[in-house]
Amino acid sequence: MRSAAAIGVLAATAISLGALRAQAPSAESRSVWDGIYTEEQSKRGEPIYHKECAACHGDMMTGGESAPPLTGGAFLANWNGLSVGDLFDRIRKTMPQSAPGRLTRQQDADILAFMLSMNKFPSGKTELYRQSEMLKEIRFEAKKPAAKN
């Protein structure tokens, strides 16, 4: 039997979560399935990817001897449950391997938008943010969640 205090806490949490959901669209509840980049941004990212990343990660993101694939099950499993910000920061701080941090945040965001499109995450109306703290609020989920009510 639950204590009244526990019920109170649960109720308060439910109410505040509900309040958050009622706002649209809220960063806290978003994932890679919510149209977090635009088609145009992905098209900007494509030539940057080919210039800066394809040498190691492959023309088709299938990976190669020096770098892993950026599409497919292994890639998705690596980031599943983490945030888009985690992936963005990893790119920003450590890639390309020869000169990490050389690309601008905007370029990194565009490349990431291209990667998201290659992984068949849907595009939307707003561009992918280039601020890490914004991207940290977006969940990376390998599996498409069940339809929301």
Binding site: A55, M60, G73, A74, L82, P96, S98
Partner: protein, 689 residues
């Protein structure tokens, strides 16, 4: 010879017998490694990755706990996410390379305490290196009195350190270093700072010689048909003096020069040796696994068979003189670098003892030779292969195909290899591959065309089969254990390269995309300005090589195969690695009972002990049994049955090793990947209560 009591050596005449079989004949004042140590990158100079230890076994593997762990984040200027090292443990100290600068570190093997660290600050030369990060390891040498550590920096300098304190040995080379870009029988172009040449593998020390190969950038889209060459050299372990050099691309007048027609040996490069070599100290012979020549997939600028590209070469340890060779692939077009150590195995074939060498490969063949004479143990007849039609290309009409052992992983692609969990998935896969040229092993690449073929779809090429971690070998049972990627699909298509981008006629690419020079790791920032984008044909040339996210190729995705070398037959083969999350959780496969599939990774090394085959997983999974992470698995080496598994927070990215110290056995493995930066983790059994 230093005598050292070890209370770990409580095993007996059987152990002594094994020890004497493993060790080379002791030269005077030669350090002799103990079976409780791991004195060389691959355990020993034969490349066995085997130690006769059994304290950790099937009855207790699941009880392993973490003894210590060390992140490599702060050993360089930034964290690394691809830690590929295998440490050494010799004379009570653990040595490893670590960190983005490829520092050398020494640790207490029981506690992981840092004893010393040495890092070379190489500035631009390090930044321009074709092979970055901490690399795969280092080498140890002792004459019983002095102890030295050798490693090669990203900027391609051989460093000699006092193993006791990590300080450069002034009497070696130039105050403790040899500049490997010099004295290489060639001028490294364009200059010593940016000239492309390096190495990531561990040097090998045999008798009193340090042997170093060479590595280059990824060769899919070279800027030029011309590159520096990857000769192999032996240096004196005390003075650093160069003792010999082997020209992997022959110079004019040397044997094999005419296998590079139209004088192409003059300008073609690469053809290095970037993986581990092995040495038979008793015979005084070194076994060199040589890689591809310049341009992995297009050879129109280097007509001819191209010796010694993709060739196993045996040279004299003292002089570097070639004793025999066998070219595994004539006129390389599939990036089938010989990717791992040629394993030295003393076996018994048809009742006769043979000193053999067994070469695992990307193409899934294990080539077995008499290592004295170079004669194949089982026939490797030249068989006709498809001749392609890429303009300007030269094709070898035949390739040697080993008759035994059977291929241990897939090479070539046919409809039968495609996903078949359901007929619908198979049909989708057939549609995808209809855009590609398919065929058996050695089906040549095609020019990429929008209307098809986009290229040749391949398995057993760039990242197929066995890669740099190599195989393992049990000298007691004569069984080789080989990890292989069985589903690492690689499309190989060629596109014409504009003159501003490359002087080659063709480079790797897909029709419909602009051809950019694919910058390899280490290329100077700003060296190439962006090209204006080409007009894209509608639809481009991109087809996803998965089927609704599921792998295109059917399981098993990754395997470990046990091959009896006395007979050339398989003993067992198992899928290695938990079924990927995407497959296990797939809606399309709900309710189906799919046996464990193994994983699509190319870089898993195996460790053999008295009773176990030990290998970690290369992919992250999240299962009912463990949170997101990867498992270090142990198999019964006789049957392949899994007998235990322990959790790792990230995938195995360096091959595991083992040793005993203070009566306890440890297993150390490098993990990294995705969001997890590099870490060495040591496992041991819980202390007895």
């Amino acid at each position: 010879m230093r005598q050292r009591k070890s209370n770990a050596l409580n095993k007996l005449s059987l152990l002594a017998f094994i020890v004497s079989a493993l060790l080379p004949a002791a030269a005077s004042a030669q350090y002799s490694p103990k079976p409780t140590e791991w004195p060389s990158y691959a355990a020993d100079l034969a490349g066995t990755r085997y130690r006769p230890l059994d304290q950790i076994n099937a009855s207790n593997f699941n009880d392993l706990e973490i003894a210590w762990r060390i992140k490599t984040d702060n050993f360089g200027d930034r964290p690394e996410y691809k830690l590929e090292g295998t440490p050494l443990m010799v004379n009570g100290v653990l040595y490893a390379t670590a960190g983005s600068r490829r520092a050398a570190i020494a640790l207490d093997p029981a506690t992981g305490e840092l004893l010393w660290i040495h890092g070379e600050h190489e500035g631009k030369r390090g930044g321009a290196a074709p092979r970055q990060l901490s690399g795969r390891g280092l080498a140890y040498w002792s004459d019983g009195k002095e102890e030295r550590i050798f490693y090669v920096t990203p900027g391609f300098r051989l460093i000699c350190l006092n193993a006791k304190n990590g300080v450069r040995v002034p009497s070696f080379g130039d105050n403790g270093e040899v500049d490997l870009k010099l004295n290489d029988d060639q001028e490294i172009l364009p200059d010593l700072i940016t000239g492309e040449i390096g190495i990531q593998s561990a040097p090998v020390v045999a008798k009193d010689t340090v042997i170093i190969g060479a590595a280059f950038r990824e060769g899919m889209t070279p800027k030029s048909m011309r590159n520096n060459k990857g000769y192999v050299r032996g240096f004196d372990v005390r003075t650093g003096k160069r003792l010999w050099i082997f020209h992997t691309i022959p110079k004019k007048g040397e044997f094999g020069y005419d296998t590079w027609e139209k004088g192409s040996a003059e300008y073609t490069g690469n053809t290095g040796m970037w993986t581990q070599l092995t040495v038979d100290e008793q015979l005084g012979l070194v076994y060199l696994p040589v890689e591809s020549p310049t341009s992995d997939f297009y050879g129109g600028h280097r007509p001819g068979n191209n010796l010694f590209g993709e060739t196993l070469v045996c040279v004299d340890l003292k002089t570097g003189e070639r004793k025999w060779h066998f070219q595994l692939v004539h006129h390389a077009l599939w990036d089938m670098d010989i990717s791992s150590a040629p394993i030295l195995a003393d076996i018994v074939v048809d009742g006769k003892p043979v000193k053999a060498v067994a070469q695992p490969t990307k193409q899934g063949f294990l080539y077995v030779f008499d290592r004295v004479t170079g004669k194949p143990l089982w026939p490797m007849p030249e068989k006709p292969v498809e001749v392609g039609s890429v303009p300007g290309e030269w094709y070898s009409p035949t390739q040697p195909i080993p008759s035994k052992p059977p291929a241990y992983s897939r090479n070539g692609v046919s409809i039968e290899d495609l996903i078949d969990f359901t007929p619908a998935l198979r049909e989708k896969a057939k549609e995808i591959v209809s855009h590609y040229h398919l065929g058996p092993v050695y089906t040549p690449p095609t020019v990429s065309k929008l209307e098809g073929p986009l290229g040749t779809l391949t398995l057993g090429t760039a990242s197929g089969g066995t890669n740099w971690p190599g195989g393992s070998y049990d000298p007691e049972t004569h069984i080789a254990y080989l990890f292989a990627c069985n589903a690492c699909v690689e499309p190989i298509g060629l596109v014409a390269a504009p003159k501003e981008v490359s002087d080659m006629n063709y480079v790797a690419g897909v029709a419909g995309r602009e051809v950019e020079i694919l910058h390899g790791p280490g290329e100077n920032a700003g060296a190439d300005s962006p090209k204006p984008p080409k007009k894209r044909a509608a639809g481009g040339g991109f087809t996803r090589l998965d089927v609704d996210g599921l792998p295109l190729i059917k399981p098993p995705y990754g395997t470990i195969t046990a091959i009896n070398l006395d007979k050339g037959d398989f003993v067992w083969q198992v899928a290695h690695g938990e079924t990927p999350d995407l497959v296990r959780n797939s809606e399309a496969l709900k309710g189906m009972n799919i046996p464990r599939t193994g994983q699509i990774t190319y870089n898993i090394g195996t460790l053999i002990t008295k009773t176990l085959v030990i290998a970690g997983e290369g992919n992250i999974t999240t299962t009912a049994d463990h949170p997101r992470g990867a498992m270090l698995r142990a198999y019964d080496k006789a049957t392949g049955k899994e007998v235990g598994a322990v959790y790792m927070p990230a995938p195995q990215t360096g091959s595991p090793m083992t040793y005993m110290v203070n009566g306890k056995q440890y297993i150390v493995v490098a993990v990294s990947g995705g969001p997890y930066s590099g870490e060495y983790i040591a496992y041991t059994l819980p202390s007895a209560e």
